[in-house]
């Protein structure tokens, strides 16, 4: 059954604060084989003008994951998670995510469209500090494959 386009514009409650740690950044940076010292060494990051080690650009997906799950598992939206494929992803960084940040995510459904039996859902997650400073915007387009697609 196609998703109801009336859910476009729906916003979800803010997440619990996510505490960004040096160790989680290190773990993520190692998992992607990164060598940039700004991910690992606070002094190297400070020499570049950052407060502490910074996170790789795609780390925002970890911060926003719980929030995106509230959309995917929204019982009213009735999205079949087993049919979801990640279509595209975009991150805008107002500043890099930095160790010590306490981040809150808010998810919004920007669009729902249907084409050739598939539904396309664009979820925009705004990531801010607990003090309200906007840090990053993550946009995920999810494709929900239709029963016959």
């Amino acid at each position: 059954m196609p998703l109801d386009p009336a859910f476009t514009g729906r916003s979800y409650p803010p997440s619990q604060p996510y505490d960004v740690s040096r160790e989680k950044i290190r773990e993520f940076a190692e998992a992607i084989g990164a060598t940039s010292q700004a991910y690992f060494d606070a002094d190297a990051a400070k020499a570049l003008g950052h407060r502490d080690v910074i996170a790789p650009p795609t780390f925002a997906i970890v911060v926003s994951m719980k929030t995106n799950e509230t959309v995917m598992f929204d019982p009213e939206l009735k999205l079949d998670y087993s049919r979801v494929v990640h279509g595209d992803q975009n991150f805008t960084h107002h500043r890099p995510i930095t160790a010590g940040d306490q981040l809150v995510s808010v998810a919004h459904i920007d669009s729902i469209t249907s084409r050739m039996g598939n539904d396309m859902v664009t979820v925009r997650t705004e990531i801010s500090t607990v003090d309200g400073e906007l840090v990053a915007t993550a946009k995920s387009m999810l494709v929900v494959r239709g029963e016959d697609a």
Binding site: E27, F28, E30, A31, I32, G33, A34, T35, S36, A38, Y39, L48, G49, H50, I54, P56, P57, T58, I61, V62, M65, V85, H86, G87, D88, Q89, N90, F91, T92, H93, R95, P96, K139, M141
Partner: protein, 135 residues
């Protein structure tokens, strides 16, 4: 740093093996079994276990981060997930070859870098780009 349109970034080759997928699953908290379990992957019609699209995207970001020196200069990064990177259960894994080129000067201190990530001779990310602060 002066950067001209047309500048090619130093290329990057990354080999992804099953162990890398498991490590990324843990680090990213994305435990979808199609990224580590052959049985599940084949049940949903995939040829074998595939890498997380987000892992390929993250690996491709390294070409820009390592070139620019300060990864905090990447102000935007986006792509579409065109094809899966299939990772067999052997020592070879899958070789992802990343190339990138400066394609546009926004004339506000940022440039556009187009990124190509290829596996098996075919592009796996579509329209991948980063907007990078260079001054």
């Amino acid at each position: 740093m002066t950067v001209e349109v047309g500048t090619e970034l130093p290329a990057l080759s990354v080999r992804l093996r099953r162990a890398d997928l498991v490590r990324y699953a843990g680090a990213s908290l994305d435990f979808n079994p199609i990224h580590w379990n052959e049985k599940t992957a084949k049940e949903v019609g995939l040829p074998d276990v595939i890498a997380h699209g987000m892992l390929t995207m993250a690996v491709a970001s390294r070409i820009v981060a390592e070139w620019i020196g300060d990864p905090g200069a990447i102000v935007e990064y986006g792509c579409r997930f065109g094809r899966p990177v299939v990772v067999p259960n052997d020592d070879e894994g899958a070789l992802v070859e990343v190339t990138a080129k400066v394609t546009k000067d926004f004339e506000d201190g940022t440039v556009k870098v187009n990124i190509n990530a290829a596996f098996d001779g075919k592009s796996v990310l579509t329209g991948a780009f980063a907007r990078v602060r260079v001054s």
